[in-house]
Amino acid sequence: MNLVNGEILGAKECDVVLEKLEQYILNTLSKERLSSEKVIAACGKVASELDVSEYMDIIRELGIDEALARRYIDDFRNAFGEERLRRRVEVELGSMVGGQVLPLGVLVHIAAGNVDGLPAFSVLEGLLAGNINILKLPAAEGGISVRLLTELIKAEPILAEYIYVFDYSSKDIEHMERLISAADAVVVWGGKEAVSALRRIVPPNVRLIEWGHKISFAYVTEQGITEKGLEGLAKNIADTGQLLCSSLQGIFLDTDDMDKVYEFCSRFLPILSRQLAKHAMKTGIGIKYQTALKLYAEELEGIYKNSRIFKADNCSLIAYPDKILDTSIQFGNAWVRPLPHLELLPVLRPYKNYLQTVGLLCDPSELQLLTDTLFKTGVVRICKGENMSSDHSDAPHDGEYPLRRYTKIVTVDEFL
């Protein structure tokens, strides 16, 4: 689906638009700058009037689990809330000393991710920073983004000329290059493949803003183990289904002794099981089968990996003797591995560009050294287990403030 000036267009009409794109943009740029307050008010309206059942239908049609769908919608409402957006603008763009913060101009967003409304969300961040936004839709996203953006335009018609959506395939190099030629910066979301493909077509002088996939884990020292701390880790696993980039995938223990690892698993398993019984996201039957199948396959992998599985009714912990950072089976199935603190840097450094959040359980006396070492490995956020995925509106994402990345700081001499 293509969206230009608030209207849905067919492929042929889009070609005409593309011919005149530069002219349209000049026209918009010559007008008064977009105020973030107008964007925020429109978002508030969309969030409060959101027809949940309609979105549930679309997401269901994409074959997505209902519990996940509900979670996405909640997240989305949260992110579009007026309070939160106002706070973000204040924190991310306010208090600039020695310059003025202005939009970059035109952002081209290349979004992956098919259900979380992420493409629309990326555009929203661009709007908040005052940019004109051109969104290239990911394949098979079910029309969620266009619907949201259309509603945003309905709530605030001024936004119409700040939002373009095109449905070209990433492989359609000719059209992609056309779009990119209009951009001050290209924003790309997605895995390694998506980013590398884009790097080949973005010219060297155009800014490329990457939001890559990330992974998070817990680090636990012997002195740091408390019932409450462990509950916090379990809570993150239960609440997020281990699906987010900030979700705990596994736990590294500050030890080289596998017996200690097994001991930890025996202690943590009932805590995890209890939390899951209380809070688990309700997953559909398809996910339950997939998880059971993966867990069973992992059981067989034991003949190669020398791993040991600790199983409860609703969850599992797999103890591995190796020192690898890995995605978990998810949905209540985490790994546990030994990693003495002296080896943190050499073992985790190769993953530097993937590291995000660490849930840390340690003694206060160990805190300084551990946080310092973890940041050196590439980690950008350290917190208690229960806060790993909590939404702090003023917290940076992946070590950056998105809105700041979408702006520039300009200065003018004092002429008078």
Binding site: G113, G212, H213, K214, G286, Y289, T291, Y296, L300, P350
Partner: protein, 375 residues
Amino acid sequence: MNYGHRLFFKRDIYSLKKTDKLFHRAILENIEHHRNNCPDYAKILSRQGFSVNDVETIDDIYKIPVIPTLFLKNHALYSAPQKNLMLKSTTSGTSGRVSEMALDLSSAWRGLGMVLGTFLTHKIASPHPANYIVLGYQPSKRNKIGAVKTAYATTYAAPGIHREYALKDTGTEYILNMEGIKDALLRYEKRGLPVRFIGFPAYFMFLLRELIDSGIKLKLHPKSLILLAGGWKSFLAEEVDKPTLYEMSREILGLGGDRIREFFGAVEHPIAYFDCPNHHFHVPIYSRVIIRDLNMQPVGCGVPGMLNLITPMMTSMPFASVMTDDLAVMHPGEKCGCGISSPYFEVLGRVGLADIKTCAANASELLDIKKGGAL
């Protein structure tokens, strides 16, 4: 290896009851063979605490440790020396990772018995010459995908006069040969010989749409056959609605649902399942099918679960009992009404959420680091 050979050359391919004893002996013989020849398989059996004594009758075969295809995509297990392997295949790899499969002489011999039994029972084999439309890749030395070989092998079920391929090998690459297919169909119609189509339902649908767009309408020989590899290989993105497909085929080719036959098999379980006149996949004597719940326990008819396929066919690889990543349900044979007494299964879809993309880094990216990193 006597029990296995005997099983695969039985003529009455749907009388499960009569072959229960033989199947039981053959599967135990097969497991013993793999245990002795595949050290990794032996390790799995012992890790799962399995003993052949646990399988006293055919009703106990669910106790045989199941190997998920997910596991086989990471590990190629062989029970025969490399020099004895022939007919190597890989899966078409919809998930990116591929499974390997290779037959040794003994597995291939059983496969031949099965193909004969199946083709004769389903009257697929015919002495009358036919022209072929293969909706897939032209075989070549470079292409090891299992489906190519199945498609090619199937073109020998009736003597072939001419074969036209949808994806033609130019020597360096494959090109879509839609014009060639259209020309061939027009020629085939004039010749008046039966035509045989072989391919996936989605490809066949694509062909029909192409013919509609080009304004081509044919009346092919009424003994013509359309053989479609169905089941879990169907393309989920464009699920083909069967009645619609049959109706389009009748309209465009003059061949309705009664001339369309579906079959499927998996690389890890190379048993040919052909559909009956009511388009159901009944279990033949060569295999047994068990549906399992979340705890890997077997469930009865009518209850959906994971699809576990058991066969003693393979001597080259320990694929005695494999679990696909499909959800399926069993039905009693009598429910079908076609006269075949053996139960049939219906594939409901794949497990899980393969299509969901979340922001958590995926395993393959991290794996690259693991391989490249100094860990």
